[in-house]
């Protein structure tokens, strides 16, 4: 049985800019630094980079990433490893009448399942369905 696609985190935002302009904000390090984190990102599949920020003095957040897919100005995805949890973040840009609809999806999967990434993805919908059901029953 093929399980339907289901993401763990999905956020959408309508932005007042054409996809090409938004693409620059997603892929140029000096622009990424202005809305996300400091980075040495390059839009090349396989490129490894970090996202860093210091929310307060002495506290450093470092996310280890690797570019998975680059399709300007439509799709960008990279792996996202932080706090011992590996996930993949995917940005999808869809032109609208007034700008661009940006969809950010992030799905997590366990580190030891990376080789079986597709298998992990297939297992998620069942687990999340069970999770939703269980949470509804918690006192």
């Amino acid at each position: 049985m093929t399980a339907p696609e289901r993401r763990v985190v999905a956020v959408e935002r309508e932005l007042a800019a054409p996809p090409e302009k938004l693409w620059r904000a997603l892929t140029q390090p000096h622009l990424i630094a202005e809305w996300l984190m400091q980075t040495d990102f390059a839009p090349v599949p396989g490129h490894r980079f970090t996202l860093r920020r210091e929310p307060k003095p002495g506290v450093r957040v470092v996310v280890d990433c690797e570019v998975v897919a680059v399709e300007p100005p439509k799709t960008l995805s990279y792996t996202w490893s932080a706090y011992g949890l590996d996930s993949v973040v995917t940005f999808t840009l869809t032109p609208t009448a007034t700008g661009t609809l940006l969809r950010v999806e992030q799905d997590g999967f366990p580190p030891d399942m990376q080789a079986a990434y597709k298998g992990a993805r297939a297992a998620w919908p069942q687990m999340l369905a069970a999770l939703a059901e269980l949470l509804a029953r918690i006192d």
Binding site: V9, V11, W35, L36, P110, P111, L135, I138
Partner: protein
């Protein structure tokens, strides 16, 4: 000792295994069970079921209650709460970042 809240990565790792997930789901659905009862219908041997129950217990997903010579296992679905927290935390993180992106877009040259 049963753990109250395991880290999300331990929960993900523990529930990634289909046999363990099936055992956990069955305990959630059917309530308290012994190893023998769980082995019937699990499709694996009793030692394998015991091993999986041990890992579920380490992750805080299952509680063990000894009664005479038998141990009764039950699910602790509340142990899954850190997972919803992770999802909620990331959603909130992206919402905040997209606010910043929206503001950057307004400042950028064409």
């Amino acid at each position: 000792m049963d753990r109250v809240h395991a880290a999300p990565d331990l929960l993900f790792r523990t529930l990634a295994d289909p046999t363990r997930r099936a055992l956990f789901e069955r305990l959630c659905r059917d309530g308290e069970k012994t190893v023998a009862e769980l082995t019937a219908g699990a499709g694996v041997s009793q030692p394998v079921v015991s091993k999986h129950l041990g890992l579920l217990r380490e992750a805080g997903l299952v509680r063990a209650r000894p009664a005479g010579r038998r141990t009764h296992y039950s699910a602790r679905p509340a142990a899954l709460l850190p997972l919803t927290d992770w999802t909620a935390d990331m959603t909130s993180f992206w919402e905040t970042r997209l606010d910043a992106l929206d503001s950057l877009i307004a400042r950028m040259d064409q």
